[in-house]
Point group: C2
Chain length 368, copies 2
């Protein structure tokens, strides 16, 4: 089958890597000649946000999907009209692309998400402080989001269509990845949890399973069911959640694609998010995704002050550790904050996992 992916980054790379177990032809659309998928797919150089580029790329494919949500949706509608299978649906991509539509989707479908005001410009602000401003479009990896705490900070507001959202008093950040195939089979991965490295005060381990009580688990199950019913689309979706200090779960946002919070599934689950997504693209039976004990992930991010040809200092020490799996993304140039790879770790207990992750983190540095 000819499978076309909009975007050729690390998510696409790990998808294709996993799916090399099967016989398909992989195509990617990405503007960067050295994109992570460049050498393992038939790459078309082009902008996935451009109507013509997406339409031309997709028209001879059996299925078109995305590894990033900032794609040209009009072209996806057109492709679907012309008979190309598009997963997930253009409707759900369009909804998720725009924070305003995304919030309205939660409201309409009784999915709990923080109270909000929609503004078209700065002048319309009428919302209690403190709040989060989420720009309607263009957000990614924390970009397009800012916290406004005081009256003085109001002047920092971006003058763009936005959602203003109540700041949740966060106890834990959680994530759940949902799979829906065209047959209507559904499944979800065990809930994962972002864990703060308290020493360095950084949020950077995602671990599985999350340490949550029955009430939290139940609230998430309800959210998952509501989302599945509302989405009306095959696809893999990552829902990022907040558990607040009163024990209530809120949806922060959803990604209509493979997600960083599912990377530990590569070795931590019976099948990974990449295998599951592949099966969705081909409408195959969904895979079992039971956990193999405790698993966690550390992102390898370019350190501040280093730009240029990447060096993974300390990586050889990491390779000596058992139950530790290095995943690099084939990016030659590092820059501050760039996601260059990740490391997955397995363990028998949560405590052992956190100790191992902290040790791995102390060993490796992404420099140049």
């Amino acid at each position: 089958m000819k499978i076309g992916i909009l975007g050729g980054g690390q998510l696409g790379r790990m998808l294709i890597q996993e799916a090399l177990k099967y016989d398909d032809e992989w195509f990617t659309l990405d503007p960067a000649p050295d994109a992570p998928c460049a050498k393992i797919s038939d790459q078309t150089l082009g902008d996935f946000a451009d109507y013509d580029a997406v339409l031309n790329f997709g028209q001879d494919k059996d299925v078109v999907s995305v590894e990033i949500e900032h794609v040209n949706v009009a072209a996806l509608y057109e492709l679907r009209n012309s008979g190309v299978k598009v997963i997930p649906s253009p409707e759900i991509i369009e909804t998720i692309q725009q924070k305003i539509l995304q919030k309205q989707f939660y409201l309409q479908n009784d999915i709990p998400s923080p109270d909000f005001q929609i503004i078209q410009s700065k002048s319309e602000v009428n919302f209690p402080l403190p709040f989060v401003q989420k720009a309607n479009t263009g957000g990614y990896d924390g970009k397009g989001v800012q916290v406004i705490k005081t009256d003085a900070e109001l002047e920092n507001l971006w003058d763009v269509p936005s959602v203003l959202e109540t700041l949740v008093d966060i106890d834990k950040e959680l994530s759940v990845i949902i799979a829906i195939n065209e047959n209507g089979d559904t499944a979800h991965f065990p809930v994962t949890e972002m864990v703060a490295d308290t020493q360095l005060n950084l949020l950077d381990f995602n671990i599985c399973p999350a340490q949550i009580n029955n009430s939290t688990q139940q609230q998430i199950e309800v959210i998952v069911q509501k989302f599945i019913e509302a989405a009306k689309s095959a696809g893999l979706f990552a829902i990022e959640l907040f558990l607040d200090k009163n024990g209530k779960v809120w949806v922060n946002e959803t990604a209509p694609r493979l997600h960083n919070s599912g990377h530990q599934s590569q070795e931590g689950n019976a099948n990974s998010q990449f295998e599951q997504f592949y099966r969705i693209l081909k409408n195959l039976p969904l895979a079992n995704t039971d956990s193999r004990g405790f698993s966690g992930m550390l992102n390898l991010v370019g350190e501040a002050g280093y730009s240029g040809k990447v060096v993974y200092d300390g990586l050889e020490e990491v390779l000596k550790l058992p139950q530790t799996y290095v995943h690099l993304y084939g990016k030659t140039e590092t820059k501050p904050g760039r996601k260059m790879g990740h490391i997955n770790v397995l363990a028998d207990t949560r405590e052992e996992l956190l100790t191992k992750l902290a040790h791995v983190k102390s060993l490796v540095h992404v420099i140049n």
Copy 2:
């Protein structure tokens, strides 16, 4: 690092697939434009048995290795002389390539292998029946090997340089995969066992760990140590073994490369033979390869009577089974006996494993 592999078949494909976790440039030399590695490596079309083809291919690489042993060794010597790293050594490839040298290697290094006579032609035969004739060169996947049981069958003898070898009264067929890096670190995988499907009287499951007693394990450990000392080369080596009905272990033959008897390591061990081989090529710390319970593999082989565009009949049923992993090789055309893929299965007990493997085998058929 620029890594060049002679051969672009399924072993190379699964190596590159695994190693996409790391940042390297992969090159393959293979005569088939549709070789399994064609789309995931920078492929040079050419014959790996040809001196000039191998020399030209290898000269700008950092390391050159093989995924098949029938390669031009003279060119590998030349490449090494010119400063290219060659793994495994041309010497050990040359020894293993030729059954006569291979037998002499076992004899010289006190590695137990069945009694033999070397012949240059049919007329020299002076060896007790029954015996196995192994042609000196060109053997692969059972080709170049025949059993001669009676005086009448002597006329079937191939009139080529050969090894004649005592027929072992086999209790079990075993395999052990050995890893040696340039630092001299060594490791080996748990011993695996070929299991006969008694219903169909076919040998086609390879399972791990083998069901063997302490004496057998001890004999294999001694063979492994002797091989490591004698090989004097970095590399990944698969030693195929016979356990005879008196409890003695014999070396049948050795492959200087990744091996079909290690495929279940993809999901069955903490790290696979492919990961281990990658680490050898880069002289990295060897990986832990502990077993995850019981694992086994079924080869997907083209059924008799079917040639043409492959169809994996029943594969969707297999995908419904938990702890079951399909690996296809990207070959579009099936023919009788062609290795098209394999399926790995995990289980908690040997009995459960064999039941699952037999069930999988009953479900899937490689036809067209």
